[in-house]
Amino acid sequence: MGSDIWIVGEQREGHLRRITLELLSEGRRLADLIQGKLWAVMLGEGLSCHTETLTHFGADRVILLSDPRFSSYEGGAYARALSMLLSSNPPAILLMGATSLGKDLAPRLAARMGLGLASDCISFALGKGAELTAIRPIYAGKALATVKWEGRKPWVATLRPNVTSLPEPDLSRSAEVEEPKLELGPEAWKSRVLEVVRDATATLDLTEAEIIVSGGRGMKGPENFTLLEDLARVLNGAVGASRAAVDAGWRGHQSQVGQTGKVVSPELYIACGISGSVQHLAGISSAKFIVAINKDSEAPIFKVADYGIVDDLFTTIPLLTQEFKRLLDTH
């Protein structure tokens, strides 16, 4: 049994996704602690352009499974390919992103190989004898569970996006690169992606955004969300919504933040006209800074906000957009 660590990277439309670098960063830290090597595995097409970045961010070995058939995601085929690769050289730990791909692939792979999987972890620690523990939020963040693996390796985990800081790339690093050929018959592909439709209004996903401007019932109607879009554009952030705003049909379901929506971990969360239900507060509990703008000084959101403005949001938000514009233009 090796003491190596593997990460499965992701790309989208030819670009390495940030989660890949986050996985490398955490993987590098763990590999140094157990004195193992860090392997970065990618599946897809046209992957060799990522080798340098993967290496500079910590990979000792880069495994590229280049196959045009991997250009769109298919859970069964991806799991089969990875299990073939893993069984010839099983590492101690395997990390993937808690992304739409990783959340689908990791449980399949774990089931295929009989492995323990901890989903959506926010931190990892190694105890004596290289025993791995991880912390994962449950009940949308109302509680934190520390989990431990037992039995067959690799121990598999998915890492929540946006909770790992990135190191400076080390341009002096080098890595071995392999492009193994796997014998994978067409029967491995059981489903087919017909089309990927990009949501034109959401260039940035809430789970990956560093800044989120979110609106609730206090926005009074769908048309007023343009105020938040303007602010988000200046801050290069994403627009979210409370459940009340989504259920009213003002915003799409994909923008809901909270226990039955997305759990987010931005650097800055600006809650506009959101009173702050238990479910919503759980979903933003790992935001670094929370700003609340609400007319009602009794709103529960003020109990968790680092900075609060009790005021009419229709006056405040345009002023805020203007002020940020001025600040960011001069810098």
Partner: protein
């Protein structure tokens, strides 16, 4: 709204076989609950908690019912693994209109992780027989989001996860699912039998009717335990690799921060300055 270039399909469809639908559901504390940790063990204090059907599973049940509305010969079975609360969730499913419910319960199941639970469910659905298995995309208690994809892998089936729209083809032999991904939607097609996991937006779950509630109250819900499921030693023990919760805590509470004073302009100026100089966000 998302615009797809694909032509709309599958408005009406006929099948010449009896479609068997299985919905996997879980009972969870209501999302309005505060979660308190037991001082002496890594578990949640269940006192005072109201248990309900997992919200994402409601979408799965509703979708099955809508399929049956179009295809009257379809048969829907709800299954749930767990203690006494699981039975109540099954009763809710019956009151919404599913045809039958099976309660998977055994003290040994308490030790299982999500992967272990998926293996038990796989055993149960295999003995029921199925064309389509519907699950919620995750349960809002442990937030693992593993059972749907794991179930598909164990049963060697295609799976479409986190689905906000689902359509059958004209013969009822293929499904097309709109799967939510970061910043967009993947439109995925696969043959049945398959697994889908439901996301908010798929439909608007119905409330049980009074008649449904009264009828569900009287229904027998069969219990299947480990020996009835003929579990192998490894399945009962939870598989070769496993994850255990060793401790639980509540996150440290955020303390209320500063309420800014002054007129609107002053407050905004101060906020931007604080974010820059104190929080160092910019």
């Amino acid at each position: 709204m998302l615009k797809s270039s694909l032509a709309p399909i599958f408005f009406s469809w006929e099948v010449n076989f009896r479609l068997k639908l299985v919905v996997c559901i879980k009972s969870v504390p209501d999302t309005a609950s505060s979660i308190r940790i037991k001082p002496d063990s890594p578990s949640v204090n269940g006192e005072g908690l109201t248990f309900v059907m997992n919200p994402y599973d409601e979408y799965a049940v509703e979708e099955a019912l809508r399929i049956k509305e179009k295809q009257a010969s379809a048969e829907i079975t709800a299954i749930s693994l767990g203690g006494i609360a699981a039975k109540e969730a099954l009763r809710t499913a019956l009151s919404m209109g599913v045809d039958q419910a099976i309660h998977l319960t055994d003290p040994s199941f308490d030790e299982l992780d999500s992967q272990g639970i998926a293996r038990i469910l796989a055993k149960a659905v295999s003995s029921l027989g199925f064309d389509l298995i519907l699950c919620g995309k995750q349960a809002v208690d442990l937030d693992s989001a593993q059972v749907g994809p794991a179930l598909a892998e164990i049963l060697d089936l295609p799976q479409i996860g986190v689905v906000t729209k689902l359509e059958f083809d004209g013969q009822g032999r293929h499904l097309r699912g709109h799967r939510q991904i970061e910043g967009g939607t993947e439109i995925v097609e696969c043959p049945i039998p398959c697994v889908i996991t439901a996301q908010k937006g798929l439909n608007e779950p119905r409330y049980p009717s009074l008649k449904g509630i009264l009828m569900a109250k009287k229904r027998e819900i069969p219990e299947w335990n480990g020996s009835q499921l003929k579990l192998g030693e490894e399945e009962a023990a939870g598989g070769p690799g496993k994850v255990n919760i060793i401790s639980l805590k509540n996150p440290s509470l955020r303390s209320p921060g500063r309420i800014l004073q002054g007129d609107s302009e002053q407050k905004v100026k101060e906020l931007v300055q604080l974010l820059r100089e104190e929080a160092k966000v910019f």
